[in-house]
Structure formats: C-alpha cells, structure tokens
Amino acid sequence: MRLPLLLLGAIAAAALAMPLVAAALHADPSSVDLLDRFAGPSAAHPLGTDELGRDMLLRLLEGGRVSLTIGVAAALTAAAIGTAIGVAAGYLGGWTDRLLMRLTDAVIALPLLPLLIVFAALDLRKLGVPHWVADSAAISLLRIVALAVLIGWTTAARLVRGATLVTRQRDFVRAAQSLGAGTLHILVRHILPNVMAPLVVATTLSVGDIILLESVLSFLGLGVQPPLASWGSMLSNAEELMNSAPLLAVYPGALIFLTVIACNLLGDALLARFDPRDPARV
C-alpha cells in the first residue's frame, strides 16, 4: 500500500508544483519556440522540447493536472450519484428498487466506448448552446467528466445497494427505527458509514479507469482540446511524429500507465485491508 500511495503522491505533488517548476525554468507549458523544436534534454529543458518547441516537462506536468483533476472529479461525482441511487434502491425497496436496478443493468449492458464516441462528438450548438460556451475549454473538460459519470455511477450504485440491503436488516438499524428515527437520519448515520469501505475501494479503482477513458477520448481528438494538454492529447500529437521523435510518445503514455497502475494497486491494497477474510479477490 505504501508504494502506490507514494507514487500517486509524487505524481500529484509534481503536477501541483507545475507553476513553481515553470518559474524555475523561466517558461510556461504553452510558450512556443519554433527555433528550438525537438530539442534534447538540457538545463533549460530537462526532458527536451516537443514539435512546437514547448518544454516537455512542463507539458507533462500540465497534462497531469488536467488528467488527475478529471479522474478525481469524475470518480467522486460518479460515486456520489451512484451512492444516492444505490441507497434509495436498497433502503426503499419495492418498485423504486426494481426501476433503478433495471436502469443500472441497462447501462451496463451497452457497448460503452462506441456510444461514448457518439456523445463526445455531439455538437452542443445544435442543442442551442451558444458557440462561445460550446467551444470553451471548460466545456471540453466538463464534457469528459459528464461522460465518465454517465457510465461510472453503476458500479457504486450496485455496491451500495448490496451493502444497504445487508445493513438495513441489522439490529442497530431496527433499534433506530423503533426509536422513531427518520429515514434520512438512518440513511446518513447508520447505513452510509457501513457502505463506506467498498465504496472507497471502488472509487479508487475508478479513478484509474477514468484516466484511461479520458486519455482514449483525448487521443481520438474528442476529449481535452488544445491549447490545454492532457496526457492523452499529447499522445495524439506524438503519434504523427513517431518516426522523428519517439520519446514524445513514450513519456505521456508511461505517466498514464504509472498513475493507473498506482490507483489499481492502491484499490487492491485497500480491499485487502477492509476485508481481510476474503483471500480470493477479483
């Protein structure tokens, strides 16, 4: 558990420290220098420069800020929505449960990537959104978060529903009910704390999944739009330059890989800690 935490912490700290690094190098991630393209490592550019002469290290850190922000924001939002749906289905039962779980099953049973590409390519202007909003950088970020949430809430919903079904039969919940506690009070004070453990594990794992999804969409040109960089969009530029500058393609991919594997290992370690009885973990 220590290694993935250290790795994630180091990547996040470096990404957060981007402005400091930029000040130290007297550059910013989007400053173009066409006379200094594809430069090798030097004191001024520790990892060299890209096809527009931008500093590679700063671009990577900037991309990390974007990718990590999207990953964490979308994972938390999906967990919150999934929790609300799961608790409602598990605690209220009856037709609410049936309806919500049908919806969850339906979303899970779809070929998600092709459909996400349709959603990602939608022209918001045709929905009446003014073009300066539809084409803004903030919308391109929000759109990815929304897409990740759209498919990500189902895991949390199923987990929380299952845990709620078990917990609501426990004696302390019955005791609270017989003391006249309201539904909301029971949900927040008694049910939620007991579904926290699996939820934390699932959310940690989903951060990695979402970073992968973001990188794929950005790679296909449907995610983060220039001049903003993410690891995925950096790879999309690098693909065309693979002959001349293969390292441009190696760095961002390696960072995606390290971040995602750290999230997965951390999730697995948390699972082992929360549930030491279960040796066969999936």
Partner: protein
C-alpha cells in the same frame, strides 16, 4: 429457464427499439449534416438547391417522422445507403464484421488460454513469489492504455526492427494468406496483452475459491493426484464463473477492438463505427451501433444462461 430466456429476448428487442430511437436522435446532433457536406464540396449550390436537397433527404421533417420512416424501412430489411462506402449499409457492414470477428476471435482465444495457465499457476500457490509476480503483471496489463501499447509495439516491431507491417490488412494476390497473417500479428498481440490481465485475475480468483472447497479436501484425502485435483475437481467448479466471463466477452467481439483497429488501420467494425460517426454517415453509424448493442446484449444473456446451466443451484424465475 425457457420462460426466462423468452422474457429476456423480448426485453432485448424493446431495448434495441429504444436505443435505435436514442441513437437516431443523437446522430442528428453531430456537427454538420450530409447536405452541408455536399455544399462544401460544391460551392455552386444555391439556397434553393439546398432546400430541395434537404427535403429530398427528409432533413426538414420533424425527428419523430424521420425516425418512423427509417424504422419502417429497416424492419423491411432496407438499412439505407452508406455514403462513405457508396454501397448499401449491409454490404458495407458484413465484410467488416467478418474482419473484426477474425481479429477478436483469435486474440480472445489466445488471451484466454494464456490466462487459464497463468491463473491456475498463481492460484495453486497462493502468496508465493510466482503468485505475486503473476498478480502484478496482471495489474500492469489492466493499467496499460491500449493505444499506447499499440504505439509502442509499432515503434519496436514495425519501425525499429522492421519485422512486421504497422497497419492495414494485407493485399490480395500471391502469398496473400501469409501477408494477412503478418498484418494480424501486432493487432492480435495488442488485444491479447490488453485483455490478458483481467482474464488472469478472474481465473485466479475462481480457482482459489474452487481449491478452498470441501470436496477438494475430500479428493486429496482419497489420494487423488495433484494433477487430477487441479484439472478435474477444482477446474470443474471454477468453470462456472469462468464461463460467465467468457460469455460476457462474446458481447465485446463486435466493437471491442475500436481503439486497436483505429491504431492499426485494421478494417473492422470498431474502425467502421468511428469513421461512420466522424464522417456523418448516418445510416451506417446507426446500423453499426445497433448491431454492436445487439451483440453485447446477446452476450449478457448468454452469460446468464450459462450460469444457470452450469450451476444447478441457480434458477431463474
């Protein structure tokens, strides 16, 4: 169980009808439309021509009316004409579907066999160094971005060593089969590595569960050989969850290689869906997305049925 399957089939049909409407509506919201495309390619078109073309293609009518017209045609077997391929949609789809099945089928078989070996090896010695190594490798496989893996493989084997072609499917002619196989190596390797980690973890978990059961202890106590215990007794009960994941994977056979196909310019269904969506080929995108949805849902149904068929304790009402 027949009743269960029948109900599910009706549900799938209803879901497909719903999805066809949703996708139909969404595709109309893509940037540009076919008439805009004609307009950019021929600047001499007048406003009157545009209006005439729009009414010819029915773009000026309300969404629900257009959808119902499409649905009526589709139900009578006419999926329309693909602009990108200049061919009827079905004629454009079928060869691509065959290519995808070939690519995904071979990588799936390869990944599954490898996962079976690795998963069982890890499960037999829980907590050992071998187990830890296999588990870590599986995690690494799950965490690799597929398109990056494809890039790196191309970089090494196509560009660096020059052993294999980086894209396409090979030409017809003499030595065509060998050429085709050479074109398959990198995409199949990419897909296999990308899916191996997940399968291995699944097999490992299922086998560990199975090896911990009472009847395994009984078999060992009777003096059955370790080989027989693992491959006969344990694998039999582990097959139930493994068959489920197999059936679920069937659902990804059509569109599951979108990224890989796009990277290697392999003419399969995934690349077709991407190109059709990006290229405003409404008819083709709609049919391809619906086909992918139908196969995915059929895979899920197959998983449920396999589960009930293999495990007599499971019954569906």
């Amino acid at each position: 169980m027949i009743r269960f399957a029948a109900i599910r089939l009706v549900e799938i049909a209803a879901m497909l009808a719903l999805m066809s409407f949703v996708i139909y509506g969404l595709i109309g919201l893509m940037p540009g439309d076919p008439v805009d495309l004609m307009l950019t390619s021929d600047p001499h078109l007048s406003a009157a021509d545009v209006a005439r073309l729009k009414s010819l293609y029915g773009i000026d009518r309300p969404l629900i009316e257009r959808y119902l017209a499409w649905a009526q045609m589709a139900l009578s077997g006419d999926l329309g004409y693909s602009r990108l391929f200049s061919a009827p949609v079905a004629a454009a789809l079928l060869p691509r579907l065959a290519n995808s099945l070939e690519l995904l089928g071979s990588s799936f078989a390869l990944a599954f066999l490898l996962a079976l070996g690795l998963g069982i090896a890890a499960a037999r010695h829980p907590g050992s160094r071998l187990d830890a190594a296999i588990n870590f490798t599986a995690f690494a496989g799950i965490s690799l971005p597929t398109f990056w893996l494809a890039l790196i493989l191309m970089l090494i084997f196509a560009q660096g060593l020059g052993w294999l072609p980086a894209s396409g499917m090979g030409e017809a002619g003499s030595g065509a089969l060998l050429d085709r196989l050479r074109h398959l190596v990198l995409p199949v390797a990419t897909l296999t590595i990308a899916s191996l980690g997940g399968y291995t973890r699944y097999v490992r978990a299922a086998m560990r569960d199975a090896l911990g059961q009472d009847h395994i202890r009984t078999a060992r106590a009777k003096g059955a050989s370790e080989l027989r215990v693992v491959w006969h007794h344990a694998l039999r009960s582990a097959l139930v969850p493994i068959a489920t994941i197999l059936a679920l994977s069937f659902g990804t056979l059509v569109s599951g290689a979108l990224i890989t196909e796009e990277m290697f310019a392999y003419p399969g269904m995934g690349k077709l869906i991407f190109d059709a969506v990006m290229g405003n080929d409404y008819n083709l995108a709609l049919a391809a997305l619906l086909l992918a949805t139908a196969v995915t849902m059929a895979g899920n149904l197959a998983a449920d049925l396999a589960y009930a068929w293999l495990d007599p304790r499971v019954t569906y009402r």
